[in-house]
Symmetry: C2
Subunit: 314 residues, 2 copies
Amino acid sequence: MLYIGIDVGGTNLKAGLVNEKGEILATEKTPLGAFPGPEGFARTLAGLAEAVLRKGGAALEEIEYVGIGIPGAVSGGEILYTANIPMAHVPMEKLFRRHLDLPLLLGNDADCAAVGEWSCGAGRGTKNFVVVTLGTGIGGGLILNGKLHTGMGAGGEVGHIVIVSGGAPCNCGRRGCWEAYASATGLIRLTREAMAAHPESALHMIAAENGGVEGRTAFQAAQMGDETALALCGDYARYLAAGVTDLVNILHPEAVALGGGVAAAPEQLLLEPVRDIVARECYARHTDQVPRIVRAELGNDAGIIGAALLGRAI
Amino acid sequence: MLYIGIDVGGTNLKAGLVNEKGEILATEKTPLGAFPGPEGFARTLAGLAEAVLRKGGAALEEIEYVGIGIPGAVSGGEILYTANIPMAHVPMEKLFRRHLDLPLLLGNDADCAAVGEWSCGAGRGTKNFVVVTLGTGIGGGLILNGKLHTGMGAGGEVGHIVIVSGGAPCNCGRRGCWEAYASATGLIRLTREAMAAHPESALHMIAAENGGVEGRTAFQAAQMGDETALALCGDYARYLAAGVTDLVNILHPEAVALGGGVAAAPEQLLLEPVRDIVARECYARHTDQVPRIVRAELGNDAGIIGAALLGRAI
């Protein structure tokens, strides 16, 4: 059997024709553009699915279902809420099947990334697995007992646990959320604060060379031995580890995979200190079963692959 | 069929003969006493099971299994770690069956309370349900997708998520854990701090009348209109709500039940403000599916009933 996975991103819709091994056989994409309303959006999705089907040279009968990763909350065939697209309580499967008669599976985008990593990436072979994606925000996906866990639909919002009481305001309305500190956006804010306090730091030079402060600016300066940057990277690792430890204490998975651009930071500046802190602080150290903290493996393909393989986890 | 549930507490072992409805037909207890080693402990547990069987007038053939709630982490028939009893990696089912030939199911004590509340208390009919017990520490039990979730064995340690970064030291080794603020012990510490800062507060009089500061001291003074106590109860509700909101954002269960002595506080001083904060701050407000925040219903029986009904959830 084959599957079609569609990743609904902030600017593009990306579709992949995927086989049972999770290999992408063909891709298509189309700009998200101005939102045409739920019915028009369903037509766009169905058209994209047909396009990738044609491009891959597959027949409709070979496709088991179309899986779609949405930046929001879903339940069954319904889109409950989306963050950047104006949809609420939209019966998407029904709308979609008016255009293309294939079963439709819906998932949150971070959940799809988790399914992808679990099926054929950093979480292969685990029963309980957590993916944390460090980007503009923090995305989370939970595989618990071999199934995607979303609770009533909005579970896995791991970026919105408070790690600094009364701390920086978060888009979600709380203060001090993990996302406000440990996302790429949070790291950029912390970097700007460190630069303001330390005019002598190499952070300024690196930011100027790259046309602005980025997620990697802190790591680049730290690799040059800049003391401000080294301290900043240490703070960031502690913020990141605080949330990871919270998740480990609640869920005790076999592995936690960190994805997104920031997770590509040099191992000794990020993954190693995070591992050390989690190993020292998590409750599971008492049972000698400290989870593995690893890098996500599938990069930007995780969303498409996970959407395509959603059926294995829901 | 009948079941035997044993609740291993800090001072007593309590056993109950329980029917399929979760009704306790007979109880027996024995002091924990000096720890006789794993083999002696297995003999004590088997003897207690036999005693409650006799007391209830049941035959061995009527018993499906013996369930035991342990203050620690378990995995299958093995006790991985216990908090107050010196056991680690003990094959308890094997030891137990040398004395009594019945299947043995092991669970963490807070997990058993969750199974009890889920089977026949505050969580009846839910698929995803969280119990938080406010006592000396904070116990947590997670029912996810109709099964007890413990991950690799030490999951559900919800008391050990940080809600005050760099805050009060916790027994677990971290700082600022939810348990250090929202347990009964945490509330007593906060009450003492408020008393030290406010010699005029009615908290002093109430503590003196009751022979010391208790978990309920703050609520009693608040009900008299004492301003220090009212502010303290507000702080406590915010600490409690912070952790509940974290759990809701990660797990999105249908209901969260609060148990333990502190949860018996007047509704308008505790459950109502907690509900208000969670409804205002949790991510699921976007999907109009804010979980119910309720009181646990089974009191001290939850552990026995849940241990007896463990087979339904594992």
